[in-house]
Symmetry: C3
Subunit: 479 residues, 3 copies
């Protein structure tokens, strides 16, 4: 049976000269509290504060990094308990799901999922047994018992994890009722919403008309025409800001952000309301809305985050059977230089605008993103995202970005996960990798160790705090 | 005169902490027999089992990696004995060719060609002299003498190299007579063909009509219309499978695999038979045929290999004078996410389908290939191909692929060479580089050394054996 | 107050095994004289040989790497003394500019700008104080005093820097009068011009007609039609060659080099003379002219340099206010395989043609550039350019290029800077990084140390000397 022991030097670089320096730099950051400025943990988790149901539902079923790896080796999603859209039968026994996961543990060698899971089991759950075919049942029981302890409820873990602030991601048409409950519980400033209007800016998507109706109800603004639509969105953003939101988030296929002439925007909106919008018009409107969202960010101070470049639901049969976020989201080549030009020309030097860019295409790091962030004052580069949120992915990010953009045009670490228990592991790993990169600079005599320590602290804490700070200046209304 | 001595630690990483671990992991794999699942050694070499003619014809003339490097510094192909299409005069003296090669030995510094050649001379031919202007003649004589020894004939080398299985690449219209002779000699299961239908799926190419005629003759199926063409291809695949083939191989400019409506496929085929097909129609038909080949792989269990993204014969004057494979093949940007979507949606989760993807565009490793292989159960990532079959190329492959796809969604090493004597060097290097990558994970405490050793053995032997296993299930006929 | 001390091992790799080897290889190159084959120092600097005015004007204001980093954190260009096009007020006090720069010194951590500036202050100016908020005034005074010394005038620094040859970059319509003055002063062979015809080949640009008029005046050739235009350009190239030019330089948005039918070229030229050329026609003409420039290089032996792939003046408001070269130049994805095909098919194997390619898109290194340079005898790969002229950028260049193209299809180091005082730092760093890469090959037993030393010397000195050698053969006139 494999003993699970996390080495204190894990993920630090080899080398008798570099590792001790990396260790010292890392030590200066490891106790800093966590700022989780963007992620996908459900606010209800903290509002309800119920115990996590079981090991499989906590660590396997909802984590598409984990299920996709099992799918890639022939395990159907049904056998992993992923619910079918049609309510059809799927594996209901969490222990059986857990066994399947453990039987395939070797698949995760070299992946960040393994790194997170080991950390969750060993550091968070305080269990010293590694998953594997022969440990499945014992491990299941130990985790299950742990989850029954009061110290492992969500709010207790907020403290245990030293989380100072955590942002959820919320549809623009969310009532934010969970956040209201959290406010009542005194957690309103610690668990804040993020404004995600994708379902409203993509006029071609199924359900758009229902979304607009909901927008009208919640905002109390007539969305009968384009002007009303824009005013209603502004109103929702205000509501989010009042609820503590620091940022908006935008998932688009491309980073295109080009305004339409107002008359054309009106026409597309009207067509969409009739349910008769073409794909081309819908794409142009999405691009237009990204531009408009930037304009609103200049006004209300919400930080704009863009996550482009992923073709969602690559396999429509899987989407039809199991819905979104099932591991079938595949990146495509990204382009930022031309796509963002209209937005940056209009707002990129506006002192009220803050824009954080993410990518899953590493070829744009040095070619486009670092040069853009290295000159436009509004732009910061987000942390390595999704597949790139990994030890080597983080290292390459620093190597490809720093020489052109420096450290101070990056946002600091953003965990962006729905796996709540993995949050400490992710921040800890980011601190280790940043320390490793900085240590190399020190050993190559390109930076002093004092500077490296200061920079590491900035990356871990001060930069996300500053980049995502609440808007300070009085917003000027623009037209 | 430069002494040639291969260091036992060659290609293993620097570092007092990493290298010993890498050495131990490598040791666990170095004696494993070789599975050469895709390559370009001619079956006739083994069927004839003649001595290799001379050092230049063995190591220089047919190796476009070697000749292109000399061309790049102004040595014309004629002076390297590469035959002209028009039968015009080229250098006929192998010693003169060998001297030219030796005079330019410094050009190969830092390249894999040097690595292969040193290994071939030192390890295979047991000669301890490095090429160079002053060693050309002596080295020529020593190699030539070695090639006269019976132990250096092709079949003897199969044993000496510890090759368990080697795949050749054969036109869909090959008679497979060399494989028949090998079967008679008891080597039928050790030297197997691969089905390569490119000359038939690219309807616009010169000689296509001749190819179709040949297809009809060999298959005995009337290829007068599209249905007959498809049936004839199926028949040829069966013949290949019976001759031991494990796989098909497809060299296309793009990875596009989108089916045409049958009526349209029929029309393009009929136009092609008339010799009047447009470039656009030909490209659409090639894309369609890639889709159809995937369908057939689901039925007959032949593993599908795709090698896309190379613009062949970049210089038409060189092509006209010397034919193909002369070093003038230049990669272009690759795209897989959208190109493969129709094929993967149709067959990607079919348990009978196995698809191995190759690329010469490193920007798709982390962006597209690893996410695709990390979810679709049919997909495995082939080894670093062509220019990337090199020490640093292999290292980058593991670094860019593993964190998203793991180790077990890769195919293990595929040597893919026409240089028979380089095969042991290539497998040996792949094992060294995989060991180096794994050793880093061990030293960074991301993997135990036991797991690393097991994974190294899997990559070197078990994975190619599994991925390219003969189809086990009874093929179901699909329509 | 931060002491500034450059460590002798700076930028050499960590590791007890690699660093000593790297140090020895580097030592073999560090005293070699500098060949500065392409750059942007103004010839007038050497012709006038005046003292540099002040620290801010020398090290901050004209260096867009420095100013863009300050802009990226909210410092307006006005506050950095960058002159406005409209003559509007900007900061006039150099000490104030210097203070702003010093206050933001931490932004440059990890960037090459910091590396250059530290070297300039410590090694060139012999001052041992690092910039910073608390050292600004003292450092300003020390630098200012140093600049008053005769040993710090431009010509004295040419000697101090051990510069054997330096190329300036000059508009095709330059009178080359500064070079004439330099010739009189005996420096004509040491400071040579480079022919840059961009303002003439981009027919759509503002001021093109004025440029053509100037071309006619200087060449004495009637530019009334296309033939005259071409003849005038040939004449200017001759004048440049007589003034010592070794090369031409071309900054285009893409690398497209496709000839137009002569009749069409004539028509576009005529339209442009009327001021009525379309964007499409202008782009086609630029592509055509790149092809024509290659033809002329075959004739007159001037080495052709192409710097493609940068979208200049990304923010038109900044361009209108401050002109070009203000840090708002952002790269776009590059493509060479198809773009250069017409040019390479026509001239790529011409023994009189020499073509040096640059890029700011690292994804083409292994995919396109190394395969092209690895076979076409005319092509050499230029050093890492612009944002990539950095420690890690240089390392990645060697790692991504060498295995396919070798060392001898690269141009050796090209500093390409307008910051005269940074030239020794840049060459020195390139030598350190090349030594580091070579040392790794030695320690991995892929190269002997003797070969590594020889290669390092070739990269630092012999290769640029050879690649940019004056044309030796009598040019044959082609039509």
């Amino acid at each position: 049976m494999a003993q699970l022991r996390l080495h204190p030097d894990r993920a630090l670089p080899a080398g008798q000269d570099v590792r001790p320096v990396a260790r010292r730099i890392y030590q200066a950051t490891r106790e800093l509290s966590l700022l989780c400025m963007h992620g996908h943990v459900d606010a209800a988790v903290f509002a309800d504060d119920q115990r996590f149901s079981d090991p499989a539902q906590l660590l396997v079923v909802p984590d598409h990094y984990v299920t996709r790896m099992l799918v890639s080796q022939g395990v159907p999603l049904e056998q992993l308990g992923v619910p079918r859209m049609d309510g059809g039968q799927v594996e209901a026994d969490p222990r059986e799901i857990w066994r399947r996961f453990c039987a395939h543990w070797h698949l995760f060698r070299g992946t960040p999922s393994r790194y997170w899971l080991e950390h969750e089991i060993a550091e968070v759950l305080k269990i010293d047994i590694a998953p594997g075919p022969d440990t499945a049942d014992e491990l299941y029981d130990l985790i299950d018992a742990r989850l029954a302890e009061p110290g492992f409820r969500p709010r207790a873990l907020l403290d245990a994890f030293n989380i100072e602030l955590i942002s959820t991601t919320d549809s623009a048409t969310s009532t934010l009722e969970d956040h209201a409950r959290l406010a009542v519980a005194g957690l309103g400033a610690r668990v804040v919403p993020t404004f995600r209007p994708d379902a409203l800016t993509h006029v071609g998507h199924a359900g758009w008309i229902r979304q607009v109706r909901r927008l009208r109800e919640l905002s109390g603004v007539d969305t009968g025409d384009y002007n009303g639509f824009i005013a209603a969105l502004r109103s929702r953003r205000e509501t989010f800001a009042l609820a503590g939101a620091r940022a908006t988030d935008h998932g688009h296929l491309t980073a295109a952000a080009e305004p339409l002439p107002v008359a054309q925007a009106r026409r597309v909106y009207a067509e969409a309301c009739q349910g008769s919008v073409s794909d081309t018009a819908a794409a142009a409107f999405a691009s237009h809305m990204l531009f408009e969202m930037a304009r609103m960010s200049c006004d209300d101070g919400l930080v704009m985050q863009i996550h482009p470049g992923v073709l969602r639901d690559h396999d429509p049969a899987v989407h039809a059977a199991f819905g979104s976020d099932r591991g079938f989201d595949i990146p495509v080549a990204a382009e930022f230089t031309r796509a963002l030009q209209p937005m940056l020309n209009a707002f990129g030097r506006d002192p009220h605008f803050r824009l954080v860019l993410f990518t899953v295409d590493e070829s744009v790091y040095s070619r486009e993103l670092a040069p853009i962030a290295g000159v436009y004052p509004s732009v910061r580069l987000g942390a390595p995202w999704w597949f790139l949120d990994s030890p080597d992915g983080m290292r390459r990010f620093r190597e490809l970005v720093t020489e052109t953009a420096g450290f101070y045009n990056t946002s600091g670490f953003v965990d962006d996960t729905r796996a709540f228990l993995s949050i400490p592991a992710r921040h800890d790993l980011a601190r280790r990798i940043d320390a490793s990169y900085l240590a190399r600079l020190v050993v190559e005599h390109r930076l002093s160790e004092d500077e490296a320590v200061e920079t590491a602290v900035d990356l871990a804490y001060r930069l996300p705090q500053e980049v995502y700070a609440p808007a300070t200046s009085t917003p000027t209304t623009r037209t």
